[in-house]
Assembly symmetry: C3
Homo-oligomer: 404 residues x 3
């Protein structure tokens, strides 16, 4: 453009020139209407969808977040192993502090007073034996319970199994209580404090809004209708919103996601940007394609006897792990994506005219009389210049029409 025009001028003259394309204006009701309609549709699309819905004029940033949680509540159990017992947060919240995840024990299998000694393995396909020759000393099955000693011992009156060196007595985990032991866990509450940052926009906010005072916070409980700003959640309510039954989930345990959505449009004032809570069960509760359904892990409390020997209480802890998952994208107006997106959409505007012309040419193809008109327009739109390189030296003819 500039280059062609300037090549025959000096730069000084060149600077003061201004180029624009020559246009043909076709006065035609049909073609003109179609053309305007397509232009309007594209403009509407650019403004309506690209700008308003997709917000493509904005620059984006991902959220950076920090979470603290604090569980409150006590529960009561009465079992043959442990007797009548009260459980408080130091007992059921294992480990005592995590980053954005907290665990609440709801059910358990307890094996107290384990010591390092030898005892017969639990009976299964690979451990049942007839004599010592069936057992291999030093054998260590990953799915087993210890190191085999090579002896075949009586497990019970009816079956013999290979003896192992392990923490004895072994844990028998097939008889999980039918109902979760810590029934009161559904009424426990958790205070979630979440602080987010969008570094690119230097934006900081917390989920406890500035206008909420501390006396309200000391007694409130989250409720979507009555208390949507309260950061204290009852465990049962969260599980219910995820369309699960707390007591059912509590038997084998599970993983519940507490999603905090911080998607914000920072072109609006800051107080419009707030957390949106939702809850989803994250683990697979379908037993058919699941190994170890639910959620459990083993931990132990270690003690020393008076004679200095170590004993432990092994606890297979079933419970619900709550993962606080914070995500979000912030958008803010920025010239660059605006130019990119609006510019690209406008490219389509300028292409539309060519498209319409072709549509017109195609649809007129079938009308005999329009053949003339197509040529007529072609003449006006297109000026044909013959081969430039083939006829070196000879004066070049023109095949343009309609301009004389």
């Amino acid at each position: 453009q500039k280059m062609g025009g300037c090549s025959s001028q000096s730069c000084h003259h060149c600077f003061f020139e201004y180029e624009t394309e020559r246009m043909i204006v076709v006065k035609s009701k049909v073609v003109g209407s179609v053309f305007r309609l397509i232009q309007f549709l594209i403009l509407f699309y650019v403004i309506g969808y690209v700008c308003v819905v997709q917000k493509s004029y904005q620059e984006t940033d991902s959220v950076v977040s920090s979470v603290t949680t604090k569980v409150k509540g006590t529960g009561f159990t009465n079992t043959s192993d442990l007797g009548a017992r009260v459980w408080d947060v130091a007992d059921y919240n294992i480990p005592p502090q995590g980053e954005s995840s907290f665990f609440v024990l709801t059910n358990m299998i307890v094996t107290p007073n384990q010591t390092q000694s030898t005892c017969p393995e639990l009976p299964n396909q690979s451990t049942i034996c007839m004599s010592d020759s069936d057992c291999l000393e030093g054998s260590n099955d990953v799915r087993g319970n210890g190191i085999q000693t090579g002896l075949c011992m009586n497990y019970s009156e009816t079956v013999k199994t290979c003896e192992v060196l392990s923490w004895c007595p072994l844990e028998i985990d097939i008889n999980l209580p039918e109902h979760a032991l810590l029934v009161a866990a559904e009424d426990f509450t958790v205070l979630i404090k979440n602080s987010v940052t969008y570094p690119k926009f230097n934006f900081h906010k917390r989920n406890i809004l500035p206008d909420v005072n501390s006396s309200y916070l000391k007694q409130c409980e989250f409720n979507r209708k009555t208390d949507p700003d309260c950061p204290i959640f009852r465990l049962k309510d969260m599980v219910s919103e995820a369309e699960e039954d707390f007591q059912t989930m509590a038997i084998r345990g599970g993983v519940l996601g507490i999603m905090i959505d911080w998607n914000c449009d920072l072109d609006w004032p800051e107080h419009y940007c707030g957390p949106k809570y939702s809850f989803r069960r994250l683990d697979n509760k379908i037993p058919e394609n699941n190994v170890a359904p639910g959620y459990n892990f083993r931990f132990a409390k270690y003690y020393k006897t008076t004679d200095g020997r170590e004993t432990r209480t092994l606890i297979k802890a079933y419970g619900i792990r709550f993962d606080v998952i914070v995500f979000g994208t912030a958008g803010k107006f920025n010239m660059v994506p605006t130019i990119v997106n609006v510019g690209a959409a406008l490219t389509f505007l300028s292409l539309v005219s060519s498209l319409s012309f072709s549509v017109n040419a195609v649809c007129n193809w079938f009308l005999l009389t329009c053949t003339k008109r197509r040529d007529y327009y072609s003449k006006h739109k297109f000026t044909y210049l013959d081969n430039i390189d083939d006829n070196a030296g000879e004066p070049l003819g023109e095949t343009t029409y309609g301009t004389r």
Copy 2:
């Protein structure tokens, strides 16, 4: 473009044609200057802002990171509960290993020798009673300390409260020490090892730079001016950079963010890409809209007496949790965003000529003499062809001027 031109030719001829728009060049000092100025501004914007500042010619990727931390230091306390005592990392770093977060105990309330038994509740609105009828057996307040037995007992000489089954004696947490117990915590140091990856670009790097040797690392301490490459940070320095006082923060605890920014331009050599450390307090220290200000959690150490009964020491641990937050985006030149962004900006260049023309037309509207010129230019820019569809069969007239 191609379609219209080719419709009257065979494909063979079509292939060897080359189309370009016809242009009008207006020699006008005013309009030409304005036009060139707008072109220059857009070019400058494209190069200066889009390319250099916003780096929109680059493809981006988000950081994937792994962190390990190791705290060092010992502290000394002398309290009535525990006596003279030294605290080392196994004592104050709870839990002993985390992923990218570590906790340092600075203050505590210790309730030793708790056992499962019954005792009167702590007095408050809902626990004070006159007689047994004020207490409901089995009642379990989430904010309470155990399961009520139904009896009303003397809490002290002046007040009676409902008795609970719980870990007794109950914790009395209203008398938090005025000064943090573990004063020496401010001099503890933490070694932070951070390994990052940008999977899309197959880029890996660590925060301990390759040119730093191990004898330096054994004794250095991070300092922005003198030792910016040392990955060992003094806790007090980090808290100070976040504009907080360590000892004040240590009384009730808090959460400090250690931000590691890995924003990198991978078009530059690899050694330009490094970690940028910054520190921010993440929890809300304003007590007015805060429940449980600071940061604390409860944990217990469990013991067994000689007669097999379980006792525990409950510790309400206040301290500073340090969250290592790694974020960043890498950019690298890629043809696709370059084409997209530069292409879109260039669209604006071509639109400018139309804009200038309209500006010229509008501003000339008020000058009577310019009416002639506007028409003059219109004639040259626009060639009008009359209704094509209305006059089927009749020869079409032309209303083009200035080309004869």
Copy 3:
């Protein structure tokens, strides 16, 4: 475009007009071929690279993930400190449950029966003394082992060091076992359950695919060729894929990343979207620029003696921390990025014609005869209109050629 054409018409007429640029068609084999070739290359680039490879017509979203892990296996050690001992998951998996990270103890230095008392410091540059005056009471070196008492004691027959108040006897960690103690750790297995979400597309999936049944899961082990869908991984296999030797890494410990890549094209059916596992060592194993190579941390087990005094066993635990790192981006067709990217690429198509013209002009510059042709084309491409503002009122001349 619209504006210029409409300025001399009423809006009604304006609506039914349709504008398109006037084009010159140059019939030239050379220039035409070059032009078509460049057009073809750009189209090929747009379709082949922008669309197929880069998928720039898609809108993207980042993965939101939740992970649970469960380690299985037992190991056997026989040391002077602890005797013959079996280790199960409650013993070596510290802490017992984490979020997406799990630790397996492979080597250790055990210091049993520590009590709060005084003993001489370990000898080094800053602790060796001749007399009490060399030791400062209350001095507390961050890299030291306790609070100095001010006395200079015999550490051994040959050297004297300053006495400290600390957990005595002090840990001596220079004699790390040459081979990892828990050799069997390489055969332990871990079950990884990973649940991912792409919130923008409401897409949820787990790494245990729906068609895998639970009896298969109870006995399978991940193998890239034979069992790529099994979520149970043998520790040794994972370390080998990261090109490390398990037993070597197990001596001082390390950090292994288990990357789960969920990059998906959601325009394809859902079952095409699955996890891709890879393994990388994340810590720096090069000792030259490393402080505390490998991975270790200290923790303690606390006990109470019959007279109520607290003792502890300090364990410096070396082992491999496995970080499950889930990342990924999902793409799905969306009109907006399609318009943006395709539109921008098409802008280049229209610019190509101007580029070709200039290329032609430049290359013809050197051919004397072509000077005529360049002017010839210039005449047809460019219509020059003289200064509009300088000659107010006078009839404007034209310097256009070739249109008569």
